[in-house]
Symmetry: C2
Subunit: 106 residues, 2 copies
Amino acid sequence: MADDQIALGPGKVDLLEAINHTGSISRAAMGLGLSYRRAWTLVDTMNRCFKSALVEGSAGGKQGGGAHLTPLGKQIAELYRAMEIRTDTAIQKEWKIIKRSLKPPE
Amino acid sequence: MADDQIALGPGKVDLLEAINHTGSISRAAMGLGLSYRRAWTLVDTMNRCFKSALVEGSAGGKQGGGAHLTPLGKQIAELYRAMEIRTDTAIQKEWKIIKRSLKPPE
């Protein structure tokens, strides 16, 4: 967190992964159904919240610049997914009991 | 979930616990800085999302009715807190690495 901004969450990690796969913020945004502006803002927030950038611009050229994850960006995305798996595993017992008590979706 | 309503979350569990401690939705709301209307709506959502109510009204009398958790309500609140502890424990290693990479709050 910096300035009450949320550094990381499921949507931001989806975006990191999409940038990693597509090599571009605009293609990543398109794939996730986000506006370029929204995706850029999310990237900017992450880059400002961490000690060093998670996403860097690639050199431009005729096609315009791409973007890629820094080593820190890749590490953070991987750690986040590892945390998701660990939490899913950790709460299985309790979550099963809660789920059984919920009404089925209408 | 029912009708896209969120059945449970940290705020709703705080409210369950406050109702359990105070014996009343209005006193619970006051303690949490919520309006009575907001607290009532949260309770209503929980009660409708689960197969049976988590919160029940107590008989009225001169002081107006109180409220209390049903056995299911108590169980759900306890399971939720148990899940929080389990997830905190499960992600410690990854979370420490991520935290070290974040800028300190300004």
